[in-house]
Subunit: 318 residues, 2 copies
């Protein structure tokens, strides 16, 4: 087994592009941009809880960076720097090299400098902390939704959950969709550019990490309002095409997590701007409902019946 | 078992004093100070590797914050914000409450705002990331030592290692010193004020986390020079009084980790300034040797014989 210091030197020290001092001292040093606030988020990924123990380490590295970067995207920020602390059993160096490579590739793809971390021995655990910037006062929080605002979601939430069920339980997926669903799970693409373009337009925003209904529920709780979603408006097409099971597709879209799409609210006056943003970024934005003064989250079926949605996101201790 | 969200609300959400947005959104938001650089450090603590599984959770919480804050102290910075991500088995809430309380007490003691983190289920793992500030260009790095600079250390390194040996192996300690040594291990006091006062005076600095010889070795490697320490100058008194065993006291002082004292280098012209700083902070500063152009770390015995010191700090994979 190589030493901790040689592991760090060989795999965890990468060139930086906008950092004063990277890996190798007590602290990394960065120079925050004038006129900006700093956004900070930590995510911890545990083997068996957040990923399958046999996950390809290259993909696991990517995902560890991506889910953190997504938190910056979800506030409309620019991701800038990231640290990775990891606890490893007596792992083989090829595995560590692939993990570091995947993490680094995702950082490079989003122009994020990997500036430090910690390496220790123990049960497999990956903890990344990401730092982004947004012009002062302009980060998009979760508490700004108002009755009358419309609810939007990017992309096609649900595909990652289908990928997970396919890997875990072997549920059948159409051949053309298998890799797409597994990629949505294992190689998510944080919506960084989209998130930035929503500053000044979205009134509240989160990324869909715990499930669309659950994460929208967090927005509604923080904003002290409710929402009604239109079932007919949900972007179900791809999930349905993938699994050919309407109930499962709907469940994965509403309750599946790990998608890292953006769910946000915006006043109706922003519809045209949002169509232009969707076109500019090549990302579908779907208007799926509207906020109400009455609290609670409801789904209106095509026949007009309204049912309460359990707005429970994934809870690690439930 | 309470839910993840109620755990966060009840125990991990504390008042902040200089933060734009704390716990509760995708990211925390802070406003970096103009003219300053941001210092960032992550430390991960794993049960069985970094602390005994039956450690008092109040002390464990304190230590988790303290070892991170010490990294800011070791660069002469002002600690400002911290995140705590933790993975917990199905732990009892009283344990979690005590851990959070200890972490919060240390943060409050050093005026650090606890701004966020992550809470998940898995083997016990604590990962904190701390952010500090220093006037641009003034952080004290490890690579600035020059031949002729003198080597200094604060306080009495070795006491934490004696405390650990006492708890693990039952080595006898003098009654008056037992609590002092265990406190040094479990409730370390990062040298924040001292570190700040060394900006512009110390040419290189680290905190003693892996052992004095090992951490000084990191400074020497980064600075491309060597050093000779004088055995007679080592601040051995307290360790010797505690264990009444000269060889053990010397070993714990040179090779014991977990002390979080500061080891630094400074030109001889700074001796008077350093004496004044020691007096102002009530912290002993001991001049223990000098840097040499020849690389390597050596110890000169009172009889004049010089032996090479294995400059190995603690290596998690050795």
């Amino acid at each position: 087994m190589p030493s901790e210091f040689s592991l760090i030197a060989r795999h965890f020290t990468r060139p930086t592009r906008h950092t004063v001092l990277g890996v190798g001292d007590d602290c990394a040093i960065v120079a925050p941009s004038a006129g900006h606030e700093l956004l900070v988020s930590s995510d911890m990924l545990v083997a068996g809880t957040h990923f399958l123990p046999d996950t390809d380490p290259l993909r696991l590295g990517w995902k560890t960076a991506a889910v953190n970067i997504s938190d910056i995207a979800a506030m409309g920020g620019t991701p800038r720097w990231i640290t990775l602390a990891l606890s490893l059993p007596a792992a083989d160096e090829a595995w560590i090299a692939a993990l570091a490579q995947g993490f680094s590739e995702c950082c490079t793809a989003f122009d994020v400098d990997w500036i430090g971390g910690d390496t220790t021995r123990g049960p497999l655990n990956l903890c990344a902390t990401v730092f982004g910037e947004a012009p002062s006062g302009q980060a998009i929080r979760r508490g700004g939704a108002r009755p009358g605002d419309e609810v939007w979601v990017s992309g096609w939430p649900g595909l990652a959950a289908l990928g997970l069920r396919h890997l875990l339980d072997g549920i059948p997926l159409a051949e053309d969709w298998r890799a797409i669903c597994v990629d949505a799970l294992e190689r998510p693409q944080p919506r960084v550019a989209l998130g930035q373009s929503l500053r000044g337009i979205a009134s509240a925003m989160l990324d869909v990490s715990d499930g669309l209904a659950g994460d929208l529920g967090h927005i509604l709780n923080a904003s002290a309002c409710g929402a009604v979603l239109d079932e007919a408006a949900l972007p179900l097409g791809p999930a349905l095409a993938a699994c050919n099971d309407a109930a499962r597709a709907r469940h994965c879209l509403l309750a599946g997590g790990d998608d890292y799409e953006l769910v946000f609210t915006a006043p109706p006056s922003q519809r045209t701007a949002l169509q232009a943003i969707a076109a500019a970024h090549g990302v579908p934005l779907t208007r799926i409902g509207a906020c109400t003064a009455q609290t609670g989250l409801y789904l209106r079926a095509p026949d007009g019946r309204v049912e309460a949605l359990a707005a429970q996101g994934f809870d690690h201790f439930a």
